[in-house]
């Protein structure tokens, strides 16, 4: 279907199903129950899942295929956000021109940074991109305050021109929308104790994410993708055969920069504010973590990694001491306090600690990330089944 192999079609369909039914899948616990704490099916977090999914997919095109580790990818995310908010301020509250400008601008930006940084490879490339991203951050934070809003971030204001939109008489700020469909509008479906929220913004992001995912599959399977893999496996050999690798790496860099810009534009469309923190080096590091946690060079891995990190950031970090005490309230007092003291450093504000431990575990035991975990489980299940059938066929590894 759509020029994809059978396996890829299945993958795309699975991802599509997951994304479409996310409001149900992420809300497994009835509201009001103690486990409702772990529900993630609210619009903001679901939007984050797919937006950072796009970001990680794009990053994976560069890192997973060419092996070039960019440590400054958040800069493109930031550039995308700023361009999108400026479009909202100047042109119209429609999200399409904003996202378009975000992609174009971050692409141009990636072309510039990539052109310079790709003269080096390995750790020097990483350091160069990191330096550029930190420069962008510092500029956005202070020097360019008139353009970026500095520390406060770039926000909409009542008196922005918005030349395409009709004059407004209401005293409230306009909301980003798609031809009149407001991005923040939601509909609730109540089934017994469960409340499922369907958000227009989420489904818009989801459609964009599926398109990006499809394009990533096509790139992975194309001759261009093959060339990128060749660069990863041995660039010297590629050079000796008379091929210049630079145009390919630059193209991959620009494409992944545009993905990041798209994610940034979507972020601004869901929540029209762009802050400089988006470009900070920790944000660049986060996308590296997402990709490695999910599985470098796999299609679905970065999306899973992005989901896991955003889930922990938003759910785990909100569990405070009181909630812990209520969980372990059934234990005797001394034991309750003891267990809470042990668990407390790993949740709430200590969620980074848990993330770090998980990251270490994944890197040591599952170098292929969550995807490898899935493959091992699948292999174990399949192995048992084939034992039953007493056949000795083995699947070639992906």
């Amino acid at each position: 279907m759509l020029g994809l192999g059978k396996k890829d079609t299945t993958l795309l369909l699975i991802v599509a199903a997951l994304v479409v039914f996310a409001p149900f899948i992420l809300n497994p616990f009835p509201g009001g129950s103690g486990m409702a704490q772990f529900n993630a099916g609210y619009p903001d977090l679901m939007q984050r899942f797919v937006i950072f999914g796009i970001f990680a997919i794009g990053f994976n095109i560069l890192f997973g295929l060419t092996g070039y580790l960019s440590f400054g990818h958040a800069a493109f995310l930031g550039v995308g956000s700023y361009s999108a908010v400026w479009m909202f301020k100047l042109l119209s509250m429609n999200v399409l021109p904003a996202i378009l400008l975000a992609v174009v601008f971050s692409g141009l930006f990636a072309l510039l940074i990539g052109y310079i940084s790709l003269r080096r490879s390995g750790i020097y490339f990483s350091i160069l991109t990191l330096a550029f991203a930190q420069m962008c951050y510092a500029l956005a934070y202070s020097v360019l305050t008139p353009i970026t809003g500095g520390e406060t971030g770039l926000q909409l204001a009542q008196d922005d021109p918005r030349i395409l939109d009709a004059a407004r008489d209401s005293g409230n700020l306009p909301v980003p929308g798609l031809f009149g469909l407001e991005m923040r509008s939601t509909a609730d479906l109540v089934l017994g104790d469960w409340v499922f929220t369907f958000s227009a913004g989420y489904y818009f992001c989801a459609v964009v994410m599926l398109i990006s995912f499809y394009m990533a599959i096509r790139i992975f399977r194309s001759p261009f993708g093959m060339m990128l893999r060749a660069i990863k496996s041995n660039q010297h050999r590629l050079n000796y055969t008379g091929l210049n690798a630079r145009p390919y790496t630059l193209a991959a860099f620009v494409i992944s920069g545009m993905y990041a810009g798209l994610a940034g534009g979507l972020m601004a469309s869901m929540d029209p504010l762009a802050g400089a923190e988006r470009m900070f080096w920790t944000a660049s590091g986060e996308v590296v973590l997402m990709t490695i946690l999910g599985g470098v060079g796999t299609l679905i891995g970065p999306v899973l990694g992005a989901g896991l990190i955003k889930y922990m950031e938003n759910i785990l970090s909100k569990i405070n001491g009181d909630i812990l005490h209520s969980w372990f309230a059934f234990l005797p007092d001394g034991l309750e306090d003891f267990i809470v003291t042990i668990v407390y450093p790993f949740i709430g504000k200590g969620w980074h600690l848990t993330l770090g431990l998980m990251f270490m575990a994944v890197v040591i035991f599952l170098p292929g990330g969550l995807v490898e975990a899935g493959q091992r489980i699948a292999r174990a299940v399949r192995g048992r089944r084939s034992d039953d059938r007493k056949s000795a066929t083995t699947e070639p590894a992906e």
């Binding site: 903001d44 520390e151 409230n172």
Partner: protein, 447 residues
């Protein structure tokens, strides 16, 4: 490549399923209350969004303590804190409008993005009716804008920049804390008495929004009394060693150094300045002086010995002797074992003010609450008679000018109050140039 095998029957079947799925939203719930997150009959949820990690984590922890104390008092627990001293006696310890107060917490990380994500999850997932907290103006402005869009009330915590109730003010946002302009207006007369009118000032300013507004405020009020500004140098927020910025100060011909720094920045820059011997130096035949516009006890503790004799301003201090402050310090001290900071005070007061406004309005609807807060005059919350001005949602009250104590008796007793500047002296017109360029807009009830 696979060949697709679409059959008529297959298309019809999937079409029917898709149609059924699209039909589902007709069973959707309508918001009958007319505003976002209307609480149920038994409880109401407030969202406390404070920095738990990052440079202002200390302030955030203290704010959270104050919120927990406020919730306890609203629900009738503890000794009631400031409830008995508050001039409005609507709150009786039975929660808010008879509903038990519950709360959710979140981590702003002192980043606008993270703070907004955290606030959105409180609104969308936990059903918070009001968001409060924050220990940085950038975060306050960002979350305030979000609350305006979502249609909930935002009661800001520690935010000192003029912009929060100036160019970035919002109809759903309210600030109890004082601001840069007030610091300047309160400090200037005290500085004039102590150091005279013929001084040359050198500013070191944290390179972000709050730094700019503070520098502007201090400059304009000191220049108005005859001081001259020699130079104003911006320092990066992430700077930890200020030696290279301090070194040129003595050669510049200045005789006063103004540190527009907050938190860790101020602790480091002041320590560097003292190490360079600025306190003992003389310039232009006068003793060299240092001024820190915004002081907090947590900062004073960080800077230790170095704060002795240095002037600054603060919103509130635990050593105040009025009834409200005493009651608050007592119940905070009983619960946690040490006196509260100014961040804790403003957060506690904001929670009480919100609860009281709901009670008086008889409704949780943001527009009704905003109307009850606008132009509200109250007393007994530690700052003397206070007005919540309707034009910009800023509180007007006395400002404290403080000085680092020469002989502290404990690790908390670091600042002494030099002067309580009356509210009249720090009041400004809503369209003052330092606050121009914003509009409150209309209050938003959400959906």
């Amino acid at each position: 490549m696979t060949k697709s095998n679409l059959t008529r029957r297959g298309v019809l079947r999937s079409g029917a399923i898709a149609g059924a799925a699209l039909g589902v939203p007709t069973y959707l719930r309508a918001q009958e209350s007319g505003f976002t997150n209307a609480p149920g009959d038994s409880s109401v949820t407030l969202g406390f969004n404070v920095p738990q990690t990052g440079p202002y984590a200390d302030e955030g922890a203290d704010e959270l303590r104050a919120y927990e104390l406020a919730v306890e008092h609203l629900n009738g627990g503890g000794d009631g804190g400031m409830l008995p001293t508050f001039s409005s006696q609507e709150l009786d310890g039975s929660g808010i409008l008879g509903r038990k107060v519950e709360y959710v917490t979140g981590d702003t990380q002192t980043k606008s993005d993270a703070a907004r994500a955290s606030a959105r999850s409180m609104i969308e997932k936990d059903g918070a009716i009001m968001i409060t907290g924050g220990s940085s103006s950038g975060v306050a402005v960002a979350v305030q804008a979000l609350c305006q869009e979502a249609g909930v009330i935002f009661m800001s915590g520690l935010t000192h920049s003029n912009d929060t109730t100036g160019k970035d003010k919002r109809a759903n946002g309210f600030r109890h804390f004082f601001n840069s302009y007030m610091s300047g207006a309160a400090l200037a007369p005290v500085l004039q008495n102590a150091y005279g009118t013929d001084r040359k000032a050198y500013h070191l300013t944290a390179d972000y929004n709050w730094g700019y507004t503070t520098e502007e405020a201090i400059r304009s009020s000191t220049e108005a009394m005859g001081w001259e500004t020699v130079a104003a140098v911006k320092t990066p927020l992430t700077q930890t060693d200020f030696s290279s910025y301090i070194a040129p100060v003595l050669q510049s011909g200045a005789d006063v150094l103004v540190l527009n720094h907050y938190g860790g920045n101020m602790v480091n820059s002041l320590t560097n300045a003292v190490q360079f011997g600025l306190r003992e130096a003389t310039a232009n035949g006068k003793q060299f002086e240092i001024v820190v516009p915004l002081y907090s006890r947590l900062m004073a503790r960080g800077a230790g010995e170095n704060v002795k004799g240095i002037f600054g301003s603060t919103n509130w201090h635990w050593s105040l002797q009025d009834e409200g402050s005493q009651a608050f310090v007592k119940s905070f001290g009983t619960k946690y074992g040490f006196p509260p900071s100014q961040a804790a005070h403003t957060c506690y007061v904001q929670t009480l003010l919100y609860a009281d406004a709901v009670q008086r309005a008889g409704s949780f609807a943001p527009c009704a609450v905003a109307e009850a807060l606008e132009g509200f005059e109250f007393d007994g919350l530690g700052n003397g008679p206070t007005l919540y001005r309707a034009e910009d949602h800023q509180c007007f009250k006395d400002v404290l000018v403080v000085r680092g104590k020469e002989n502290p008796t404990s690790e908390f007793d670091l600042l002494e109050i030099v002067e309580v500047t009356p509210a009249d002296q720090v009041t400004y017109a809503p369209d003052h140039p330092q606050f121009a360029g914003g509009a409150l807009g209309d209050c938003n009830n959400g959906a």
